[in-house]
Amino acid sequence: MTSQLDVEKLDAGYGDLQVLDEVSFALQPGEIGCILGPSGCGKSTVLRCIAGFEQPWGGRILIDNVEVGSSRSNLPPERRNVGMVFQDFALFPHLKVEDNVRFGLQRLDRQQQQARVQEMLAIVGMLAYAQAYPHQLSGGQQQRVALARALAPRPAILLLDEPFSSMDVDLREQLAREVRSILKQENSTAVLVTHDQNEAFAIADRICVMHEGSILQQGSGYDLYHRPVNRFVADFIGQGVIIPATVLGPTSVKTELGVISGDDPVDAEPGAIVDVLIRPDDVLHDDDSPDSAIVVEKAFRGADFLYFLRMDSGVEVMCLAPSHHNHRINERIGIRLDVDHLVTFVRTQGDINLSSND
């Protein structure tokens, strides 16, 4: 085993309320993991368990192959060598930037401390602010200081709890990329928690989608988008609609817009009705196509248009078209399918069709 972090069947909760249900994942050294999920799904609890602020009810947590937390024993946070960046940064208001960064280096001698502080401030680009107090910094600057402070003692694991949530939306992805390059530079193993998939895509090597205390799927952003294992992941990651289809063979189905074939086997007998996930980029605008649909709504997004279309049967799909194809609402346009990945869901009692927005 070479994992830097192992979370094995982690159960946890507060009082009588169980929040986590058998959460498992592992990170290799230098890997950046992300727990992605809607608010209240328990993702922050996972971080607090890894950091040692909460004790697991069941399962165990290993850092560097050493067990640090289980229902039997819980190593206190200060002995885990875990760094954490908090949502509100939690900088110490009475300390200068450099003293904040120095705070976790009390075991080094003076000279080593100074060298490490300088190094970290240089990495996060805050050298010029070494003498400033936290209240004199902008939110983005405070965040860099918080990151430098958490990374300075070279933690085995760095935990980031929604670190971008207080930032401007425009800044988030840029900051996420910056943080990623800093983490890679330091070769840190990190776990980030967020509800924003774009942040997750920008920063993480491995994403765990979490819902109601369980991890539903883990993998790269590409996998989650193109091979979602269930309706929740399909809905939570990216946009798309689900339309009915009839199973033709082991790897193909027939929809209103034609036959779709894929590599992955369909888990139903030929003739059965299943649901197929259609992403906006699966639907191409093509004036020569025999199939057409009416524009119900459109959203201009700069480089492209996102069209919401209704077909004659009443089924709605989304279509991503280059932005020079400007069509009016209620106009009929030709479309055709170009599906790379066939994603089907077997219908069960109680399933409802997903709405068209993410």
């Binding site: 040692g52 908090f86 939690a90 936290p134 958490a150």
Partner: protein, 532 residues
Amino acid sequence: MLVALALGLPIFTIASFLLHPSNEVWQHLRATVLGEYLFNSAMMVVGVGAGTLVIGVGCAWLTSLCVFPGKRLFAWALLMPLAFPGYIIAYTYTGMFDFAGPVQTWIRELTGWGFRDYYFPEVRSLGGAITMFVLVLYPYVYLLARAAFLEQSVCVLEVSRTLGCSVWSSFFRVALPLARPAIVAGLSLALMETLADYGTVSYFGLGVFTTGIFRTWFGLGDAAAAAKLAAILLLFVFTLVVVERWSRKRAQYHHTSSRYSSLPQYRLRGYRAWLAFLACFLPLFLGFLLPAGQLGIWALQTYDTMLDSSFVELTRNSVLLAASAATLAVALALFLGYGKRQFDDRAVSASIRVVATGYAIPGTVVAVGVIIPLAWFDNRLDAWLREQFDLSSGLLLSGSLFALMFAYMVRFLAVSVQSVESGLGKIKQSMDDAARSLAYTPPQILLRVHLPLMRATVLTAFLIVFVDVMKELPATLILRPFNFNTLAVRAFELAGDERLADSSTAALMIVAVGLVPVLLLSRSIATSRVGS
């Protein structure tokens, strides 16, 4: 938990008397004076509450957010009346304004009026007592309200301005509600002090609970009835504590914003500036300059006879006693506050509530509440030692400084606990977590994160306990070891003999010693606002 139990002992002793069957003396008291006690106490609470609130909050707002002549000076000078014990200011004002005092004599000389020819307000009255209390107790409200105003983020005030609130309405709608927990805390301190006062009301001859307890105990010799009176007083205080806690619970404000910049300063001009000046000058003048001046004049007349080696010893006793009590109180408060924060436990919270009631219990009652269990212990120990070893331990605890220190803790721990708790409330949990993730143990976090952040709060706690112990009279009077005198005791004894001028040197000394930490504190609160 154990600390709380030990300190709660005297309170429980007294509270248990509430359940005792009433006796003859109690029936007599209820028929005659209980109504008067209730009325006077209630009037004092209402009067002192309103007065300290207006002066304290008003001055705090003016000195923290407005610019007018003398603002910087007032910011700290307004704390000076805190150095005055109620009973000393009461003697002083009586000396100045009663029939034979300099003011009335001067009026008579000026106008030629004689006795009963004119109206002059009587100092030794209910109204007089309320005035005295307001003058010396408003700094509690001022202190905490000002600290709260200074800690407020500029953002919320600016937000309220952009939402269409004027300077004044943003004060009432934003700044005041945000500062409410601090103001209520200050107010409850002032009111508890009022209810617990013995020196002033006994000098003015007012019938309130404290004097009633003293009279019943030493006059009628009925400890049970006195303790019953004390227990009723305890009920009032407990109500006060509950109200205070309740209002605080609904408003557990952390910092409203993590960004700080300097507070807006409203520049006052023309008559407004002079009104503001006057509003700050009057409390300072009446609460400190005038009485201090009078004491100074008296002291000049008498100092050569009063200032001797015994005086130095009195001063040393007082300062040592106050400093050690304050240190102990702050240490215990940190211990309790931190324990409560770390293990958010109902039992700990409840025991802190019990400790908090000690502040309002009159010193007399605390003294007896302390002496009963300690004497019991002493007697037991003595008896046991005699039996086993044929030795006598005598009164090991009850006549010692230990008993006195114990009583001070019972009485004043509430002050330090309150300050420390409100200070801890301002340190976000995530800061603890951050420090722990940086390999700091909880004790290290207390030292490296909490203490620097709470320096002002801890200093406030230390100062208030220090000054309180300096001024404390009845418990010291009863519990002090034989031949151990303090300045307060000396001043009280002399004034009780109507030797007002002779008492002035000791009184002035109390005020002067009390002033040192006041000045230290005022400097620290002026600079402790994060980011300034």
